[in-house]
Symmetry: C2
Subunit: 511 residues, 2 copies
């Protein structure tokens, strides 16, 4: 995958690799260039096999003549750094020559064998046990958790950035509030009140580096190692990982069509200190937590002074009907911490989210956060505040709801047309993926594993529902993400899926 | 201080408070405006006493007519939200009226008494014990730790931001590397090799949310609760706080003119798992760690499989002589973790820093970080990569070195002219503050506390050296930060200092 990153990024990496030519230098520019590329190669910043951009592109990026680049490439080919017949497909050599660059590096740490013991303590090892598959360069059908970033109004964003940072005010440069920048907290509070029906103050909001950072921060500061935590029995592995990373004990609590079965949680772990729930749209099963259950959960939390983390990971994307109020708005005793993120509504690489908790808790919490990493980076905070405050965020959400609604119906339709009786797809009013179940008929023809493999070979990712259960129970469920896939891609992928199922041995291998 | 923030930000807050007028709405714009301001006031986003901007400024910001704003102000004054005679000094009323906004809020969490127990577990409480004084809106003489942000080339930065984000490439939007964005890691490695003589690869670098985040991450992942950590006996309190926040035992190790006395560390805590040092420029005393001591420290680390955190917090700012190589460049066995930050070289609110460790360690480390908060925000990473890669960073550092050199000599000169024999100032080749000592002569005239108080009353902040010792030892040392102070301000402040000392009772109170 790192290799993947490199080659995908190849051409565009150059300008970022820090290649820069000094016109005033006595050294010819072509030599400066070949030297810098050679350095990048011997430093490992350019992996073996990385394709070079064309001399034209690189000349443009560096603002030098094409001949300068050609000369540099020729020198590097001569020296064995690059290989390739035609200039257009020059690539980094598999084994770079033993040049003075390596000589210069014989003494550096990277050359000595990595020390034993490994860096991680057992605390650290526990944190790193669950490895998350890296997010690919571009989403394949039907991966989950990829919002459509093509539609984001980057021009607007960049203009807002300029308006705040071209001639920044001191208040913006010097801000250092561990809770986050006040105007952003105000905008978030305003957004939650108007769009999510969650009335709160700027003083109730804490800006975080995304949903995971928020959960980690809360568990680290509010719970003790050994404390039990209720988890919905179907939950993303990353959540378990985070709970365990904080030395806590994750207790699975069953879920039914009304959401978490609170009574069962009380039976299994009455003294749990926290429950993590997705009441608006259970992840991954999709049900909404019923009002009685919400009340039960809040009553339990109040009685036992426990906390409830309300993870509203995709509440913005509801296509029909009206959303139920948040759990937080029912919370009379300040036991609920509401978690929101911009990862789905904007894109994950922004790494910005927020927590809403009673202002009474915020001050303790913010001084604790202050001790750990001071405060969230300021650069995007005023930008996001304006983006929300001036209505761009609301507009973007309206737009995306429309886009996702179309994609969701396209997926539903295609699945029904092509795979009815084989994969029963379950409609959903909310969210960025649909849930389908292999029918007994299909299961007689092929196992879940067989389907996953065939699909994977055809470039289609089907995330099995069983991945969300720790008890390894068998399930014929499949998650189908659609948010980052144009309607055409969705139709084609479903067709491919139908074809490879039709071609399965059971029916004589005929396509 | 929160109040401070608000009133300082007052005028400029408006646009960020999310005031936005809908020209197509049937509701008159002046009413929309008064309603939104009233909401902000009743939400507490606008504190009592906050001055309103002039109707002209606000009209400009909102792109509406001045009369619209005036009408809104009049309505708000009539309703009791604002008070003020002349329009120009309208301020938020001390007690906002009991309006329907409050009615709407009677049911929300913020209205109920904060729950007991407090949010923090004892783990959390330990983390939050040391509270850091908030960084003020603008630095007063002679506060420490404020780089000069006025000189930063914001225009260049904003242009680079646009070049990456106006039409972002997928590789930039989708990047999700817990180590940080490869081109940035390459730029940092290149910068360290050329500017700090630390040869390393992109593969050895991890991007973090600043120096504190890096230290916290490392201690959390590499050490166990209860592990002992060597600390230089004079160290910023925040470092102790962070060590204790991770359940570790901070062991003071004496420092002399050669830096940390390693032999004494071995005597006090032979089985310590880590040492935190500032070898380039001891913070706050300023000495450079000698080569023999560096060797001793590395030998100890290798023998006992311990780690050494090299905190190079202000290594970029050396004014004379040539810097000693980093400790990391002497490290043969991969025991040293090098910490760098952009907080001093750019500004603290960027919250970006980096760690250099052997690539053998990076993979474990990055998967652990991945489990905690996924990866650092992408938005500034390509920008910083270009900022470094295209030479802007080097240019900025050259410029700042010049600026700081001038300010440092101005401070030295003024202190010698005005306070020789009273405060002996110690020259320093590096850094953003100078260290001075009250002479016995001055101490006979006034105590350290008396001087601090008199100075504070005159608006001058003197950070006493004793704050950096945990054993509460008496010290007549004072830290004098100069980095954010124009030469004129420095001269005036020293004059004020001299005057208030001269006016001290001991010499008959004559000025």
């Amino acid at each position: 995958m790192p290799r993947g990153t490199k080659s995908d990024a190849g051409a565009s990496l150059f300008i970022l690799l820090g290649l820069s030519l000094d016109r005033d230098s006595s050294q010819p520019m072509s030599e400066q260039l070949s030297e810098q590329i050679a350095t990048a190669i011997s430093r490992g910043s350019l992996a073996a096999g990385t394709p070079m951009p064309s001399s034209r592109i690189l000349a443009d990026e560096l603002g030098c003549s094409r001949n300068t680049v050609k000369a540099a490439f020729e020198k590097l080919i001569a020296e064995g750094y690059l290989v390739g017949v035609a200039r257009m497909n020059t690539v980094v050599a598999e084994r770079a020559p033993d040049s003075y660059f390596f000589a210069a590096r014989t003494a550096v740490p990277a050359e000595v064998p990595p020390p034993t013991p490994a860096i991680l303590s057992s605390r650290g090892a526990r944190i790193s046990t669950h490895r998350r598959p890296r997010c690919p360069q571009s989403a394949r059908p039907f991966e989950i958790g990829h919002p459509e970033s093509e539609e984001f109004p980057f021009e607007v964003w960049v203009d807002l950035y300029r308006s705040h940072w071209a001639k920044p005010r001191r208040v913006v440069i010097d801000s250092a509030d561990p809770r986050g920048y006040l105007p952003l907290r105000s905008s978030i509070a305003q957004y939650l009140s108007t769009m999510r029906g969650l009335t709160c103050d700027a003083e109730d909001v804490i800006v975080t580096g995304g949903g995971f950072h928020a959960m980690d921060l809360f568990m680290r500061l509010a719970l003790q190692p050994g404390d039990a935590v209720w988890i919905e029995e179907a939950t993303a592995r990353e959540i378990y990982a985070l709970v365990e990373a904080n030395g806590l004990l994750a207790v699975d609590v069953p879920i039914d069509e009304q959401g978490m079965v609170v009574a069962e949680g009380i039976r299994r772990a009455p003294h749990a200190r926290m429950a993590i729930v997705t009441p608006a749209h259970q992840h991954p099963l999709g049900m909404t937590m019923s009002l009685p259950r919400r009340q039960e959960l809040l009553d339990w939390a109040t009685r036992s002074n426990a906390w409830v983390l309300e993870d509203d990971y995709d509440g913005e994307f509801r296509y029909t009907g009206t959303p139920l109020a948040t759990l937080k708005s029912l919370d009379r005793d300040g036991r609920v911490i509401y978690l929101g993120t911009f990862s789905k509504s904007i894109f994950p690489s922004l790494r910005m989210g927020y927590m809403v908790m009673n202002s009474g808790l915020v001050s303790d919490f913010s001084s604790a956060r202050d001790a750990i990493d001071l405060f969230p980076t300021m650069l995007e905070q005023p930008v996001m505040a304006s983006f929300i405050g001036r209505g761009h965020f609301a507009t973007h959400l309206r737009r995306m709801r429309q886009v996702y609604r179309e994609r969701q119906s396209a997926l539903l339709l295609a699945m029904r047309e092509q795979l009815s009786g084989l994969i029963e797809i379950q409609p959903d009013e909310t969210g960025l993926h649909l849930l389908g179940f292999m029918t007994p008929k299909l299961l007689r023809r092929m196992s879940l594993e067989a389907l996953l493999t065939k699909a994977a070979n055809a470039g289609i990712v089907l995330v099995p529902l069983k991945n969300f259960y720790r008890d390894g129970r068998d399930s014929a469920g499949l998650l189908l993400g659609f948010s980052s896939l144009p309607v055409g891609v969705i139709r084609d992928a479903v067709e491919t899926l139908a074809a490879l199922i039709a071609a399965a041995p059971a029916n004589g291998g005929q396509a």
